[in-house]
């Protein structure tokens, strides 16, 4: 059990977390005990990888010694991030099959773990009262299906994640 003190929007929460399995946790917050499962954790944007530097007390400098370098160095800044891919280009994304138009998922033809060929139907999407078959843009293995039948999707929303064999 570890205790985390987290500030959200100026409000301080004390959260106790106890893991029960790799993806299951028991969380105590605000006097309630919750069963939490981490369903997914994916990178959707370029995350900043910064070295973790724990704030420490300033080092004890023995009296009489003076640093040669100036006291304050310019702070390190992370390099500017590459621009995010434009939103209007949903089909370009690498392994996500995205919704080409808004609509409702009629049926999902594949399940996670299935091997799919180029052009194999993945799911059926109903848009403007017309059923469209979304096919696999390349061969691969279905890593994850993000939607279920009956879900309504927006343009560019990920439907299925494909990975290489």
């Amino acid at each position: 059990m570890r205790r985390y003190t987290i500030e959200v929007g100026g409000k301080v929460h004390t959260v106790d977390v106890q893991e029960t399995a790799a993806d299951r946790f028991q969380v105590h917050i605000g006097g309630r005990a919750l069963e939490v499962r981490l369903a997914a954790a994916r990178d959707v944007a370029e995350a900043v990888i910064s070295p973790e530097i724990a704030p420490q007390d300033p080092p004890q400098v023995p009296a009489g010694l003076r640093p040669v370098a100036p006291e304050s160095l310019p702070p390190l800044r992370p390099a500017p991030l590459p621009a995010l891919p434009p939103q209007g280009d949903p089909l370009e994304a690498s392994s996500e099959v995205r919704a080409p138009m808004p609509g409702t998922v009629v049926s999902v033809e594949v399940a996670a773990g299935d091997h799919v060929e180029h052009g194999q139907p993945l799911l059926k999407l109903d848009a403007m009262k017309m059923t469209n078959t979304i096919c696999a843009p390349r061969a691969g293995v279905v890593d994850e299906v993000h939607v279920a039948a009956g879900a309504s999707v927006r343009t560019g929303q990920p439907l299925v994640t494909l990975v290489e064999d």
Binding site: P100, M101, M128, M130, C135, P137
Partner: protein, 373 residues
């Protein structure tokens, strides 16, 4: 039994005429197309039934006090029914794809060339100007507009024009693909157009029908009835506060009026009015109107493709007609045949709804041009 009594009893049989028999066959053909081929069954079935009922020998249905005559006077002669149907169409149509892609409006304009092209051809075939114009309006590919305009310009051609318009509308999935394929290259059909969804505020959705009505109404007063009713239906739909009215307009009212309209139009198909060489010509000109619309739309879209530097799929031009939503589906299907990932549906829907507005505007313009003559 007296001779006169026998005559009276067999009056129906003795009154049979070859023309009447032929029209009975035509009525049966329309019903067959509606029931087994599912060609616009909602309209062709009542039209076929109306045709049967009015052409039976000595049928009282089409006489002065007959039901079909009453229906005709009630809503077709005075243009009421097409307008009521337009309210229903407006209540069913989502103009979202058009609002997200406003430039599609122009594609809808190009898709109206069939009206004027057919008008020219009809003039060349020797039709009067008002007749030619009402035949041309088949090129609006919009049932209510055709009925509205042709009834104002040439009421005696209403029957054939309506039947031709609705029959070919059912044939859009057969008429369009060959034209689309013939006029585009494979490279053009492969042009992908990513669809970017905009969030439209309710204010925009509500303001759109009002703005269109006011602008079109001021500029083309003749189009006010058509645009006004279409947009009234859409306003009711988008406002979201009169769901009961929207439901009735797009459901019960539209169904009732469709039945009445079909029967009334069918009753105009009387043998002496229908069995003329003009009907055959209209049949031929009608399919030309559809083809010209599609071709003009595609050619204009090719022009847009050149301007945009190859980022506009010319197939979309084929959807710039009013046949909603068949044309958009056909375009989407032809695009998918070439590349299963190329979904043109939303763009085509935008062009298709633009075609609806454009056909109404074109109908008004035509009326204004001929009225001013």
């Amino acid at each position: 039994m007296e001779h006169a009594t026998v005559d009276r009893l067999l009056a129906g049989v003795t009154a049979l005429s070859p023309g009447g028999l032929f029209m009975l066959l035509v009525g049966c053909l329309l019903i067959y197309l509606a029931v087994w081929r599912e060609f616009e069954p909602l309209l062709l079935l009542p039209i076929g039934a109306g045709c049967l009922l009015v052409n039976l020998p000595l049928s009282p249905m089409g006489e002065k006090e007959g039901m079909l005559r009453i229906l005709y006077e009630m809503g077709v002669g005075n243009e009421l029914f097409p307008l009521l149907i337009f309210i229903g169409i407006g209540a069913m149509t989502d103009f979202g794809p058009l609002l997200e892609n406003p430039r599609m409006v122009l594609v809808g304009a190009a898709g109206q060339f069939g009206i004027f092209g057919t008008l020219l051809l009809a003039l060349a075939l020797g039709f009067e100007l008002n007749e030619a114009a009402s035949i041309g309006i088949i090129g609006a590919i919009d049932g209510p507009t055709s009925i509205y305009v042709s009834n104002l310009l040439a009421p005696h051609l209403l029957g054939p024009i309506t039947v031709v318009a609705y029959s070919y509308m059912a044939l859009v999935p057969l008429i369009q693909p060959p034209i689309l394929r013939a006029l585009t290259t494979r490279k053009e059909r492969l042009v992908r157009m990513p669809y970017s969804q905009r969030t439209l505020s309710k204010r925009t959705r509500v303001a759109f029908p009002i703005a269109v009505t006011v602008v079109v109404g001021i500029l083309v007063p003749m189009a006010t009835p058509l645009v006004g009713t279409l947009m009234l239906g859409n306003l009711m739909r988008e406002s979201g506060v009169v769901e009961r009215l929207t439901g009735v307009a797009s459901g019960a009212l539209a169904n009732v009026v469709t039945l009445f309209l079909g029967l009334a139009v069918g009753s105009t198909m009387q043998a002496d009015a229908f069995l003329r060489i003009a009907t055959l010509k209209i049949l031929g000109l009608g399919i030309l109107a559809f083809a010209l619309d599609t071709a003009a739309g595609v050619l204009f879209a090719k022009f847009l493709n050149v301007i945009s530097g190859g980022h506009f799929n010319p197939l979309i031009g084929g959807a710039g007609i009013s046949a909603f939503p068949m044309a958009a589906r056909v375009v989407n299907k032809v695009g998918l045949e070439e590349d299963f990932e190329n979904f043109l549906l939303m763009h085509a829907m935008g062009a298709n709804t633009a075609g609806q507005i454009a056909s109404v505007v074109a109908g008004g313009v035509l009326l204004a041009l001929l009225g001013a003559q």
